[in-house]
Symmetry: C2
Subunit: 337 residues, 2 copies
DNA sequence: ATAAAACAATAAAACGTTTTATCAATATTT
DNA sequence: AAATATTGATAAAACGTTTTATTGTTTTAT
């Protein structure tokens, strides 16, 4: 009922709140000031235990000027990739005694602005953000005021802000090369139509690799829009399957794309996978049920979360303003067939 | 740099903080006290806008005794079912001006205790909890102190606390009946070995429905443990496939179980699905790639989230201590084949 | 003209912490 | 015995709000 505060304990014991605060923060042995005797300290600790005292983090945050809370702005928590990322960020933040407030943007720039504002009001000590396509101004707005920010999964190349990403270009080349090595000669790409740099890198990796093998054909690139995903994918798949030179490979740039694309492919032609080899960024549960090998890029999600938290913590604890970009390597893996 | 507070604005305009606070909270037209003139009010609003003032929610929360924050304790955010639930809870809480702090328990009772403590320190106004198997004492610890709590997805039947659940028993009977109606006579069940009430209900639904048809056979129930999931499922599937009376149906009690179970089944026998009909609680992405019809129970996730938030809000705003259990109905659906 | 009512604005206390400066008492050194 | 150090404890300010009680000032009613 009546919340027990430091004051409650002080009154109970007939001493000052200072003493209680000092002891409960392990600062009772100050050099020059703020000392509490051994027996008194023990009495305080015991009282706190008995009364089930839990510190009020609002008050502490107000006083200390930090909330020990991270604001996490995610594009879509119901996408497994991001949900996993959120999970690891949280697990790691906890080790620093930090809590995490998660918010969604649904890839909307407007919501991104709104969410950063809401989190600021809650006095988060820093942000980890999966930024939206045109959210750059809102990120800049934060960094300009020296608020700690780490971007994750994606970043704005022109913006000087810390980020944790993977080498999308390299991974994309690698997996495209894998298709080529397996004998594919006409390889389609299904990718989001987006200004986001990581999407461009995935596209460039595919393009450059195919050019190196003299296999590049711009008409095999299908860009789909996030807003009309289902329709666009249907169109893309159909037009790829109708090509004159029958295509023998498709590279999907995300797991959502591969999931939806595979559905459509197999719906149009149950035998499609025996003629067309598929590769993808990120794994999907469906792969394990395909009877062919599907290479995919496995991103190091736990490390990404860990790095992001650590990068942010460094910014928070020191006021080292230098922007650091951590580029992690992704793995090429295969489903079990 | 220097955070702008209500005081900054007051000084800027050479007036009192009271005036600023009143205006910014729309309380400038008090009946008997706390008035601010029209022109002054406008000046304040403009200054606030120009200076990009954002209120400090820590200070406000401290003063008001509420943080406008919900503590969400989830069993596993990287499970799509819970991720979706979290998403909807958040979307809905936002409409009330509430933020959500999400934490994970990984089904561990210890972590559940820890997480509720952490959230309490952060002064959340209430909890929405997916409780763990033996987490009952920690929930009771909260309700005993009149802290608003809503359980979701699962609940403790003996504990008098608000909850949002689906009618697991009914759904389970329904889907079992569906298998029977399609001609299955030897139907296995793969379910978690757990004391959680909703699991028992799922089991009971299956048992009672089969008994009604004179088809019940206890040796077809396989209980797997959360900690050794992969191994236990392999064993369960194998032993079901080896049965004397060849089984012709399997009911998986969760989407994780069906996903892993299907993998194992198809690995053991690629044609398994032509002999054994499968049904499941919750949908999995894999279903769309099976070439047979798979009935599954679709839980109304958005409504669950909405109801939980609304129930919690009522507890927070009024101090209506009465526990309410909302039992939603789940739908029987089919994959597109 | 005066009393009453309405209006505008503010001072100050409070929420629960942390921390600095200060004080008093005891112990240690000269 | 006096001077100095050490120890134990506290008062008070501050963090940024909200809100109540109070004080002036103007307008309206008598």
């Amino acid at each position: 009922m009546e919340r027990v505060s430091i004051k409650t304990i002080a009154e109970q014991l007939g001493i000052s709140v200072t003493a209680v605060s000092l002891v409960l923060n392990g600062k009772e042995r100050g050099e020059t000031s703020g000392r509490v005797g051994k027996e008194m300290a023990e009495k305080i600790r015991q009282a706190a235990r008995e009364m089930n005292y839990e510190p009020n983090n609002l008050a502490r945050g107000l006083k200390m000027g930090r909330s020990e809370t991270i604001g996490l702005v995610i594009a879509d928590i119901s996408n497994l990739f991001f949900a996993n990322l959120a999970f690891h960020i949280q697990e790691h933040a906890e080790k620093f005694g930090y809590g995490v407030i998660i918010t969604n943007t649904n890839e909307s720039d407007l919501k991104m602005e709104k969410m950063t504002k809401i989190l600021e009001r809650r006095q988060v000590d820093g942000f980890i953000i999966v930024p939206t396509e045109y959210g750059e101004p809102y990120v800049r707005n934060l960094t300009r005021r020296n608020i700690p920010v780490v971007l994750i999964d994606r970043y704005y190349p022109k913006l000087n802000v810390s980020a944790v990403v993977i080498d999308n270009y390299k991974a994309s080349r690698e997996i495209t090369n894998n298709l080529v090595e397996s004998g594919c000669r006409h390889i389609g790409l299904i990718i989001y139509k987006s200004a986001l740099h990581h999407m461009k890198e995935r596209k460039n990796g595919y393009v450059d690799e195919l050019k190196d093998h003299g296999l590049f054909n711009p008409s095999l690139i299908k860009e789909v829009s996030y807003s009309y995903l289902s329709e666009d994918i249907d169109i893309a798949i159909e037009s790829l399957l109708m090509k004159d030179e029958t295509i023998d490979g498709i590279f999907f740039a995300t797991n959502t794309l591969s999931l939806m694309g595979l559905k459509r492919m197999l719906h149009a032609d149950p035998q499609a996978l025996s003629k067309i080899k598929v590769a993808s960024f990120d794994k999907s549960d469906a792969f394990d049920f395909m009877h062919v090998t599907i290479p995919y890029i496995q991103q190091p999600i736990p490390e990404m979360g860990k790095s992001a938290v650590e990068l942010l913590m460094k910014q928070i604890k020191t006021d080292d303003k230098e922007a650091v970009t951590i580029k992690l390597q992704a793995q090429l893996e295969y489903n079990k067939v």
